[in-house]
């Protein structure tokens, strides 16, 4: 595998940024009704009461912003969980972290009657944290961590929580109806009021991820070698888990469980930049929202005029990636 040098890495990063910008524009322009770009421009910079402008400002723009924010969170949380567990198959969705967060949100909304995101985001964080810790504990054998056991542990925990969530919804049809579209994982119809309260937490997580990227690099060589280099293992792990929890829990609280973005994106980043966490994180932050937005656009086009929730599209794109990863000769690459 040829890994790009620093100059080409930077060039690639700029390209990724441009692609992301282009996709953001497309995400605003493409939709069930065709709106000419000039109207889009006017909607953003010369607002008036025109109906098309209304569609842009109240539907497509929030949708794009939600996609950007959630995408960043998903990509970074995937990169973090893969670095932390040294597991190429790690993904917050596969590991049940999203299921934990969405179960907690269902309890909050369906049982406790919490209605606003300032309330139920705490449940999402707590659910994500508990599941992360459980999977890390269940997935570690005495010989160390086995990638497959960890995946199985995550899927089992996720299945239990999914079943429990289903039980809650079955006994409570109102909650069932209210959360049906949320459960599929979607960035449609999420007002920006859902995003603002969570942004500070994402900022904290971003800072934490930056702080642990160096130590995580050293830990890729093994715990003993990292400790010999002066890395404080426990502190690095705790910080990484906090960042991961905030990102995965927050993304779930906003958009519902969207799987596989966190699995695919860090792998693509690694092809470009090699095993260098800081670059992987930077690429993931740009590539993940691109993937999410393009999946969302795809979901709008494929079944036009009806739409497929983005979580379903990413599962259909991402599951084959998982299968391809495990079919490779070496199921590692970390």
């Amino acid at each position: 595998m040829t890994v790009a040098g620093p100059r080409r890495r930077l060039l690639g990063l700029v390209t990724a940024l441009l692609v992301l910008l282009a996709l953001s524009v497309l995400s605003v322009v493409i939709g069930s009704t065709a709106i000419p770009p000039s109207v889009v421009w006017d909607a953003l910079f010369h607002p008036s009461a025109d109906i098309d402008q209304f569609a842009i400002r109240d539907y497509r723009l929030p949708r794009t912003i939600v996609g950007l924010v959630v995408g960043v969170a998903l990509g970074l949380s995937g990169a973090l969980i893969q670095a932390l567990t040294r597991n190429p198959l790690a993904d917050p969705g596969i590991f049940g972290v999203h299921a934990g967060a969405s179960f907690a949100v269902t309890v909050a909304v369906g049982v406790l009657g919490v209605r606003d995101i300032q309330g139920y985001m705490w449940f999402a964080f707590a659910g994500a944290l508990i599941v992360t810790l459980m999977v890390l504990a269940l997935g570690s054998t005495r010989q160390g961590r086995s990638p497959v056991v960890m995946v199985l542990a995550g899927v089992c925990v996720g299945a239990v929580l999914g079943g429990a969530r289903e039980a809650l919804q079955l006994t409570n049809p109102d909650a069932f109806d209210a959360m049906r579209s949320w459960n599929a994982g979607s960035i449609v119809g999420r007002p920006l009021d859902l995003v603002w309260p969570i942004l500070p937490f994402f900022a904290v997580a971003l800072g934490l991820a930056l702080a642990v990227s160096g130590p995580l690099n050293a830990m890729a060589l093994g715990d003993e070698l990292a400790a010999a280099q002066g890395v404080r293992l426990a502190r690095t792990r705790v910080l990484a888990i906090i960042a991961l929890t905030l990102l995965a829990g927050g993304a779930t609280a906003i958009a519902g469980p969207i799987g596989f973005v966190g699995l695919m994106v860090p792998h693509v980043a690694r092809w470009f930049v090699g095993p260098h966490q800081r670059w992987i994180f930077a690429y993931s932050v740009l590539l993940a929202p691109s993937l999410l937005l393009s999946s969302d656009i795809l979901g709008r086009i494929v079944m036009h005029p009806s739409e497929i929730p983005v979580g379903i599209v990413t599962a259909f794109v991402g599951a084959p990636v998982l299968i391809a990863l495990v079919r490779r000769k070496k199921a590692s690459g970390l």
Binding site: L89, G93, I94, M134, A137, L138, S140, R142, V148, V149, V151, L152, A153, V155, C156, V157, A159, V160, L161, G163, A164, E166, A167, Q169, L170, T171, P173, F176, D177, R180, S181, N183, A184, G259, F260, I308, P309, G311, I312, A315, F316, G318, A319, P320, L322, I323, V326, R327
Partner: protein, 365 residues
């Protein structure tokens, strides 16, 4: 026809006095002219105790309901001593459900045992690997798109489960099928099917979606004699297949090479096991919806009760039957509102995972 029952504990012959040497377990050997069956005494005793527990629980389940009966009435109704209302309640209304719980539970226990043995992993479960998701997809298509009859639903679920199994097997095939590859591919396929199912439910109107979701939670509601007989017949055949493959299955646990050197034809045996395991799960799923986690939990409990080295089928079947019946009893009579049995078994799976977590944590301290 001679039936010889002999129990033998091989005595220590050469060891020094006082030295504890384990010469294996007490075994029970049944010999006929053609077939000889060698059973471990402990497994036999455990199965007998479990069967007794199942019988007691079954009588309890037959007694309980809005029209309470006495144990004597139940027994005499079962033996044909009662007529009229009591006979109808016990034999026509409550018995099919109890029999269904027993048969389906046993099938799930065996199915889980087959998969855990084959993939050499206590967390491998046909539900986790996506076969119940596939059955659910098949059933959903019948419920939501075709609006079909019950038999069409059963067919859809069976087809869905089988097609998923074939897909997973083919995708995991790369000069042979490795256990961990099968698991991960199964998880991937399961995720795709899961989102397909979510989307199908999302497209449906609320009433159909609720019905589909209720089926998807796994329920023994509305199980009648004709359904039990059809499902039971399929399950009986499949259980026989699994029993015939149980010896090579234990040898496969030693590794493919060792098993092959002992004369096991690895690929055909594994294919047979996959077919038996998948078909057992698919049959149950078709009849009642996916009843989760019995296949995960039952083999492990059975293994600890019978203290066998690996996974054994018969105790797993009895534990599965007991768990399923108990879960259905709890779902019907103890829960505040009657719930689908699958919900209770999910909690069971949660308890199992918690226990696993606890023992793992204790082991590391």
């Amino acid at each position: 026809m001679s039936t010889g029952v002999s129990s033998a504990r091989r005595r220590s012959t050469g060891g020094a006095p006082g030295e504890q040497v384990d010469f294996g377990r007490r075994v029970l050997v049944l010999r006929r002219r053609r077939i000889a069956v060698r059973l471990e005494w402990r497994s036999v005793v455990v199965c007998a105790v479990l069967a007794l527990a199942v019988a007691c629980l079954a009588v309890l389940a037959l007694m309980t309901g809005s029209y309470q009966l006495s144990p004597g009435q139940v027994v005499s109704a079962l033996t044909g001593g009662e007529t009229g209302l009591v006979h109808d309640i016990v034999v026509e209304w409550r018995l099919p459900r109890v029999v269904a719980a027993l048969v389906f539970g046993a099938a799930l226990g065996v199915s889980g045992a087959v998969f855990q043995s084959m993939l050499r992993n206590p967390l491998a479960d046909p539900g986790v690997i996506g076969f119940s998701q596939g059955s659910y997809t098949g059933a959903l298509i019948v419920i939501l798109l075709v609006n079909g009859t019950y038999m069409q639903l059963v067919g859809g679920a069976l087809l869905g489960g089988m097609a998923t199994a074939i897909l997973v097997y083919v995708l995991a095939y790369r000069r042979g099928v490795k256990g961990f590859r099968l698991i991960i591919v199964g998880i991937g396929v399961s995720a795709m099917l899961g989102s397909l199912n979510t989307w199908l439910i999302l497209k449906a109107d609320l009433k159909a979606a609720m019905a589909a979701a209720a089926w998807g939670a796994g329920s023994l509601n509305g199980v009648s004699w004709d359904r039990v007989v059809i499902g039971g017949a399929c399950i009986a055949v499949l259980l026989l297949l699994a029993a015939m493959l149980s010896r090579p299955m234990r040898q496969l646990e030693l590794g493919d090479d060792v098993a092959a050197s002992q004369g096991v034809r690895v690929s055909p045996v594994r294919l047979g096991l996959v077919v038996a395991g998948v078909a057992l799960t698919a049959t149950v799923t078709a009849a009642s919806g996916p009843i989760a986690f019995i296949s995960l939990v039952a083999p492990q409990i059975a293994r600890r009760l019978a203290r066998t080295a690996g996974i054994t089928l018969a105790p797993a079947a009895f534990v599965g039957a007991l768990l399923c019946l108990a879960a259905d009893y709890i779902a019907q009579h103890i829960a505040p509102t009657p719930l689908p049995v699958g919900i209770i078994t999910v909690m069971l799976g949660g308890g199992y995972l918690g226990w696993l977590l606890f023992t793992e944590a204790r082991r590391r301290l």
